[in-house]
């Protein structure tokens, strides 16, 4: 059916084409901004989740600090701040409990000064069992250490100190006179963020090397459990906590699912925040739509008077102006949606580094979402002008030039 009111709205837009395009442009920008930011957040979350779930099979057990509160923090297993150690006896207990779930091993860890040539710095030094090393690490160069004087190093550390297979590192404080020189025999592949061992910036040697430098044999910083089945995570955690902490709180257990949750929720908050900032651009668009609609009303006062005086209801006048803002909104939002596919892709590629997840519903959903927000903003900006137009006095309106 031919809707004459819609016709009037469309013709008015066509007559003021440039003005209408400029107003719709605001909506286009707003929609692109919101959907790109939303998609960026969604893609980041998806890619981080995937990254993290690769290592979600690790359960980290640390000693409970006497003063309560978990060492190691909620995120990551750094635990560097805690002096509490897990004793050999406790380790044996843990092993008895957790053996059935997977590989249980101990970690010695210390942060110390290092010197390569005449460059000084700090690094984390890990002491691990040689067999464990072979199981959890991959080398990009060299071999695993065979003697207590040889170590493997993380790729970031290697790059920073220009370490190669055969390089030498002095561990310890020279001012205190006790240093140990070790030889690099292997370079690790990049392992990324992990909650068991952060190897990228670390020096990893045998347990004997570690206790040779720092003593403390049989006092471990943490015990790691590598699960055979990722789904055992909760069960293993509960069982260890229950059995180990029966009399008093001796250990804390972190499984990666917790960390995953907290990172995902942090990313979610971030995404919402960034989208809200993008939403400000829609506020600007709202102002310009409002302005255009007010102009349109002012220019058409006489027309409104004519329509009212020959029997058009107030609702008809309102409809005419609301249509105008809805058309601007729908056209602007649609153009914005199409552009979002391109610009969103570029933003995701630039910020996340991968567009593997771009076409998943979780990501594309932000386009219709942004469209709806854009159209809603348009309609809301048109409400006041439309009501004003409808409430004009017919006689006064007819007298307008």
């Amino acid at each position: 059916m031919k809707d004459i009111i819609l016709q009037l709205s469309l013709r008015s837009i066509r007559i003021h084409f440039l003005r209408s395009v400029l107003a719709a442009l605001g909506i286009v920008i707003g929609v692109v901004a919101i959907s790109s930011m939303g998609m960026m957040g969604a893609n980041m979350t998806l890619s981080v989740t995937e990254e993290l779930s690769k290592m979600a099979n690790i359960v980290v057990i640390t000693a409970a600090s006497g003063s309560g509160g978990g060492p190691g923090g909620a995120v990551g297993g750094f635990g560097g701040g805690s002096d509490e150690k897990i004793s050999e006896e406790e380790f044996q207990d843990i092993q008895k409990i957790a053996e059935k779930y997977g590989l249980v091993y101990v970690v010695y860890r210390e942060s110390d000064r290092i010197k390569v040539g005449d460059r000084e710095g700090r690094s984390t030094i890990y002491g691990l069992d040689e067999d464990v090393m072979r199981r959890i690490f991959t080398l990009s160069d060299g071999a695993f250490p065979k003697s207590t004087a040889s170590v493997i190093v993380g790729p970031t550390l290697a790059e920073r100190y220009e370490l190669k297979v055969g390089s030498r590192i002095k561990i310890g404080d020279e001012d205190e006179g006790v240093t140990t020189t070790v030889k690099v025999v292997g370079i690790l592949e990049e392992r990324g963020m992990s909650n068991d061992i952060n190897s990228d910036m670390a020096i990893i040697g045998s347990e004997k090397l570690f206790t040779g430098i720092y003593g403390n044999e049989g006092e471990y910083n943490q015990v790691n459990l590598i699960l055979n089945d990722i789904n055992d995570s909760q069960k293993a955690r509960t069982e260890i906590l229950e059995k180990m902490n029966r009399k008093k709180t001796r250990v804390n257990v972190q499984d990666s699912s917790r960390m995953l949750e907290s990172i995902t929720s942090t990313l979610g908050t971030m995404t919402t925040f960034v989208m809200a900032i993008a939403g400000i651009s829609l506020l600007v668009a709202a102002t310009s739509i409002f302005n255009v609609m007010m102009m349109s009303v002012t220019e058409r006062v006489r027309e409104i008077g004519i329509m009212r005086s020959i029997g058009a209801q107030k609702s008809e006048i309102r409809r005419m102006f609301l249509y105008e803002s809805i058309v601007l909104g729908v056209v602007g939002a649609s153009i914005g949606a199409v552009l979002s596919l391109g610009i969103g892709w570029i933003v995701v590629l630039a910020m996340v580094g991968s567009t593997d997840y771009f076409f998943l519903p979780e990501s594309l959903l932000y386009i219709p979402f942004a469209m709806l927000v854009g159209i809603a903003v348009c309609v809301l900006s048109g409400v006041y002008p439309a009501w004003r137009a409808a409430d004009l006095d017919p006689v006064e309106a007819l007298r307008a030039e």
Binding site: M1, K2, I4, Q7, L8, R11, S12, I15, R302, E303, G305, I306, M307, R308, S309, I310, G311, A312, Q313, K314, E316, D393, P394, V395, L398
Partner: protein, 224 residues
Amino acid sequence: MPGDAIIELCGVTKVYPLPAGDVVALDRVSMTIGNGEFVAIMGPSGSGKTTLLNQLGCLDRPTSGDLFINDRNTREMNDRELTSLRLNTIGYIFQRFNLLPLLSAYENVEFPYLMKHRRPDSSGRVGELLAQVGIDRTMATHKPPELSGGQQQRVAIARALVNDPQILLCDEPTGNLDSVTGQQIMEMLTDLNRKGRTIVIVTHDPGVARYAQRIITVRDGRVA
């Protein structure tokens, strides 16, 4: 003939409040217009003729007093009902044509029809009316700015008639036209009156007023 009255005014006063002081445009006007009458309203410029016609056309409400249309007090009607009265019962022909510039001549005539019936005219009434006032099919596709004054006034007349109103109100319908066109239009109105419509026409021109059965004179907002 009070029972036969289609329009009745009882002490209608219209005051325009202005910063410089109130302007009393209509002062306690009481009068009756019978069904099927042809009435001319005359009076000097600024005397309140248009203001009076706007009251009759329910474009405006009286500041005080009562206006009855078909024995219904307009004071008791809300905006929606008044609007629907303008749509269905009253046809208004303005001094300045007042066509909608974005619509073609045809659409201008169709507009009140669409407002009333909510569907396009399939009976051919719009085209018929346009033919009656002498607007042919090609001319009907033109927008008002592309038409001459006389042509615009004819379209406006067709528009006023499209919903077959009981009352036709005309504010200086010939004021902007040459005498030949003016005469044609007056003859059309006379013809409509003969077919039973009530016609109220505002004019300065005694030659035009001659067509009416009764002349009402307005002076300083009062009916003599």
